[in-house]
């Protein structure tokens, strides 16, 4: 996690420095592509254990749609915008039998409590379907770069083969777009429960 934080901070610092170069538009409110929807197919990575007792690293396809709520964001002097992001990510986790599992055997403990003394079946391979809903706050740094932060929530359905788990989990993400042209960008997102690398089409 420390390595993740350092990498993110270093990247943000570099992008911030880059925003001061020619082509910068962060101080030009509203100066960014006008789009109705952002369509972002991507490859999704589960870099941390998913919610529940599933485990391991995950990978799979995903799609995010972003609908602009306002092209002039919370900060009047900066070129920011706010969008509603909804999507679907389908991740396959390879599982980790050693670490997380069901309880195989309990024993009675004081005060009518019980203690698990033996792990049962491990959290083997599992499929997890996430449906995130986020607020995407974008800063348009440069004609070729924008960055965003995404707090939100996701419903998830985990399928362990012989069992299922349905729930909700917080979502947090930060990311950036490298714009090949104004309306097409390479988009990288780091966060929880998943990260992604894809291409955005601002339509």
């Amino acid at each position: 996690m420390q390595r993740l934080s350092v990498s993110v901070l270093a990247s943000v610092a570099l992008l911030a420095g880059w925003a001061g170069t020619a082509g910068a538009q962060i101080r030009e409110p509203g100066n960014h592509p006008r789009y109705v929807v952002e369509v972002e197919p991507h490859l999704t990575f589960g870099l941390t254990d998913p919610p529940g007792y599933a485990g391991g690293d995950g990978i799979g396809p995903g799609l995010r749609l972003g609908f602009p709520l306002t092209h002039d964001g919370f900060l009047s002097k900066l070129n920011d915008s706010v969008a509603l992001g909804v999507g679907v990510d389908w991740l396959f986790y390879e599982g980790d039998d050693r670490v997380r599992a069901r309880c195989g055997r309990f024993v009675e403990a004081p005060n009518d409590t019980r203690v698990c003394v033996e792990l049962g079946d491990g959290a083997g391979a599992s499929d997890v379907l996430y449906v995130p809903v986020v607020m995407q706050w974008t800063f348009w740094l440069h004609r070729r770069a924008s960055v965003f932060a995404e707090p939100g929530i996701a419903l998830y359905l985990a399928d362990f083969g012989d069992d299922e788990d349905l729930g909700a989990t917080p979502v947090i993400g930060v990311g950036g777009r490298f714009h090949f042209v104004e309306t097409v960008a390479l988009t990288l997102r780091l966060g929880y429960p998943s990260s992604s690398l894809g291409v955005s089409f601002l339509l």
């Binding site: 993740l4 992008l15 254990d49 007792y53 997380r100 069901r102 403990a109 409590t113």
Partner: protein, 170 residues
């Protein structure tokens, strides 16, 4: 050219973060949260396990293990010697641990633990706290329902308190 290079370096940094592997439970924290139930297992000394915000969760570990459980309905811990177990805001927290165990239980309905010699138990703001000591131990209870802090020593004697400290000798 300079700007493109800066961007590529930034993207490389972010991609580097993608290579992180946070799965090792030995020495690092291993955590369960959300979902219906989860039991963590960790071998070797120095494990750091935690459970949060789920109905049922527990951990099994060996020596020098840290285990915390917050906002879980039913929590369970099993560990060997020199463990720290902390349970907060839950319905029940059951544990069995070895020598020199530190067991802390707060904001719970039922706390129950069986500890080895030279252990320290602390129950505060709970409905009931039941401790079985297999050797010397010190049990502190604060804000426990009337006489619901009950300690059974290795010699079979049982004492109760509401606010105070009970000690068992070898």
């Amino acid at each position: 050219m300079k700007t493109t290079a800066s961007l590529l370096v930034a993207l490389a940094g972010l991609l580097g973060a993608l290579a992180c592997d946070d799965d090792n439970c030995e020495g690092d924290e291993c955590r369960c949260h959300s979902g219906d139930y989860c039991y963590l297992g960790c071998t070797g000394p120095g494990c750091d396990l935690s459970c949060a915000s789920m109905p049922e969760c527990g951990g099994i570990c060996e020596d020098d293990c840290r285990f915390s459980c917050n906002d879980v309905s039913h929590c369970s811990a099993l560990c060997d010697d020199d463990c720290d177990i902390a349970c907060d805001r839950l319905s029940s927290c059951g544990a069995v641990c070895g020598a020199r165990c530190n067991y802390h239980c707060a904001g719970a309905d039922r706390c129950g633990v069986e500890v080895g010699p030279e252990s320290v138990v602390d129950c505060s703001g709970v409905s009931s706290c039941v401790v079985e000591c297999r050797g010397s131990c010190t049990v502190s209870c604060q804000g426990v329902s009337a006489d619901q802090c009950r300690v059974t020593c290795a010699d079979g004697t049982t004492r109760t308190t509401t606010n105070g400290e009970i000690q068992c000798s070898d």
